[in-house]
Amino acid sequence: MFRFLLRRIAGGAVILLIISAIVFVLFYAAPRDPARLACGKVCTPETLALVKQNLGIADPLPVQYWHWFEGLFVGRDYATFGNCPAPCLGYSFRNSEPVLGTILDRFPTTVSLSLGSAVVFVIFGVGSGMLAAVKQGKALDKIASSASLIGSSLQIYIVGVFAIYLFTDQLGWLDRPSYTPFTENPGAWFSGLLLPWLVLSVIFTANYTRMTRSQLVETLSEDYVRTARAKGLAARTVFFRFAWRGAMGPIVTIFGLDLGVLFGGAIITEKTFNLHGIGELSVKAVSTSDLPMLLGVVLVAATAILVFNVIVDAVYALIDPRVRLA
C-alpha cells in the first residue's frame, strides 16, 4: 500500500507539472496581453514594457516558467513585493494579492460548500436510489426515477436564482447565502450555506438516485445475491451485505471524482450564490488574464482531483478484494 501511494504521488507530481506547463503555453497562445490590464487608457509602448517588467512577464516563456517553478520550491524575490517564501505561487496580476494566501482564504468556502452538499446528496441520492431499486417497477420507483430525470435536467443557476427568490426574498425562510467560517460561528456557517447545499444537491441527488438504482438493479440480479437468499439470509441482510456491497464500488468512484471536481470549485454555484470560493476565483482569473492566479487555482483543482483519485483507488481496494491483489 505504501509503495502504491508513493508511486501515485510521484505520478501526480509529474501530471501537475505537465498541467502547469500547458496552462503557461495556452495562456500565452491566446491573443490577449495581461499587461494591457494595468496599462491605463493611453497605453504607450514604454508603459506597456514597464508593466511587463513589473509583472515579471518581460522574460521569454521558458524563463518565466522556470522562475515560477523555482518559486514553488525555494521561493522568489520580487522587486515590488519583497520575498515570497516557498511554496511561492506568485502574486495576482489583477490585485497584487499573494496567490497562495488568496487560495487558502477561499478554500474553506469551497470545501464547506462541497462537503455539506455531498452529505445532502449522498443521503438523499443513495437513499432514494435504494428505495427505487427495492420497489422496482412500483409507483415509488417511477416517482424517484422521474424526479431524478427532472432534477438532472435542471440548471443550478435557474434553481438557485429561483430558490433565493422564493425562500429568501419572498418567504424569508432561509438566509441569503453567505459564508461564515465554521470556527467563527457554526450557526451562521450552517444557515448561510444551507440554501447552496440544497440547490447544489438537487442536481447531484438526481445523478446518485439514478446511479444507485441502476447499480442495485444490476447487483440484485447477480447470482451471488440469489445464493445469499438460497442460504436463508434475511432480505435486509442480502440487500445490504451483498447487493449494496456490489453496487458501492462504482458509486464511491463517482463520488470521489465528483468531490475532486467540487473541491476545484463549484463555479456556477459559487457565482449564483455569491460565495467567494475557488470556482469564483478561477473564473475571475480567466476573465482578467491573471496568470499566477490561474496557475494557482488550476494546480489546486488538479491536486484535488488527483488526491481523490488516490483515495478512490484505496477505498475501492477496501470494498473489492479482487482489486486489492490485482
Partner: protein
C-alpha cells in the same frame, strides 16, 4: 415405497414476459424419497431451473405465476411465508448453483460465506462458525482448509470453488439438496471428483438430492430416479 419426503403435484410455472405468458412448467408431478437422488434432464430453457427455484421460493414473485403444490416433509412451500421459507433455505433445503464463481460473493471470504449460513440457522458464534467452515472445507477436500478459509473466491480454482459451494450448501446438514448443473462449468476430471464428493456426502448425511443436468451421462452416474 415410503411416504415421499418431497412431493410435487401439478406444478405450473408461468412467466409473464413482454411477448405474453410463457408456460415454463405446466402440470409437473414427482416425488422424492429420503436419501435418494432425482435426476432432472432437459434442454436448457426447458424449465428445470425455474422449477427448482420455485421449490426454494426464489422465483420472481412479480412476474411468475405458480400453481399446484410442493410438499416438503409435509409442509406446503408455495403458501409458506417468506419468514418460514428463510428458515428452511440453507437449513433444510439447500442449493448448489452452476457457476460457482458468479454464485459466490466476490466481496467476502469463503469462510465467512460458509459460516454465515451456519450462524443464521444455528445461532453459532463467529468462532464456532469459523471452526465449522474449516470442518466443512476439510470434508469437501480443500487442502490446508485453515488457511484457505480466509481466501476469497477468486483465489480458488474452479473445482475448489464448486467444492466450497457444496460445503456451503451442506453446512447445516440439509435434508434436500438441489444441485443445478453443478459440474457443467468444470473440466472432466474435476467433474468426476465433484460427483464422487456428492455421492460420498449423500451417504454420510442421508441427503435427498435433485440433480439437474442436460448431460445424460452424469445422470446415469448419480440418479436413482430420472424425470
Amino acid at each position: 415405497m415410503s411416504t415421499p419426503f418431497l412431493s410435487v403435484r401439478d406444478l405450473r410455472v408461468h412467466f409473464s414476459t413482454e411477448d405474453g405468458v410463457v408456460k415454463a412448467v405446466d402440470g409437473l408431478d414427482f416425488d422424492l424419497e429420503q436419501g435418494k437422488t432425482l435426476g432432472i434432464v432437459g434442454e436448457s430453457g426447458s424449465g428445470k431451473s425455474v422449477t427448482n427455484l420455485a421449490i426454494l421460493g426464489l422465483h420472481h414473485k412479480d412476474s411468475t405465476a405458480i400453481g399446484g403444490e410442493i410438499l416438503l416433509d409435509g409442509q406446503e412451500l408455495l403458501t409458506a411465508t417468506e419468514r418460514e421459507l428463510e428458515r428452511l433455505r440453507g437449513n433444510k433445503m439447500a442449493m448448489i448453483f452452476q457457476d460457482a464463481l458468479a454464485s459466490l460473493s466476490p466481496y467476502h471470504t469463503i469462510g465467512r460465506q460458509i459460516g454465515e449460513t451456519y450462524r443464521k440457522h444455528t445461532g453459532a458464534s463467529k468462532k464456532e462458525a469459523r471452526a465449522r467452515s474449516i470442518e466443512m472445507l476439510t470434508k469437501v477436500g480443500i487442502p490446508q482448509p485453515d488457511l484457505r478459509v480466509d481466501d476469497y473466491p477468486h483465489q480458488f480454482s474452479g473445482g475448489m470453488r464448486q467444492r466450497a459451494m457444496i460445503a456451503m450448501s451442506l453446512v447445516c446438514n440439509p435434508t434436500l439438496l438441489i444441485a443445478d448443473e453443478p459440474t457443467t462449468a468444470l473440466d472432466v476430471t474435476v467433474q468426476a471428483q465433484i460427483m464422487d464428493l456428492l455421492k460420498d456426502l449423500q451417504q454420510e448425511f442421508g441427503t435427498s438430492i435433485i440433480f439437474i443436468t442436460h448431460d445424460l451421462g452424469v445422470i446415469a452416474d448419480i440418479a436413482t430416479t430420472s424425470s
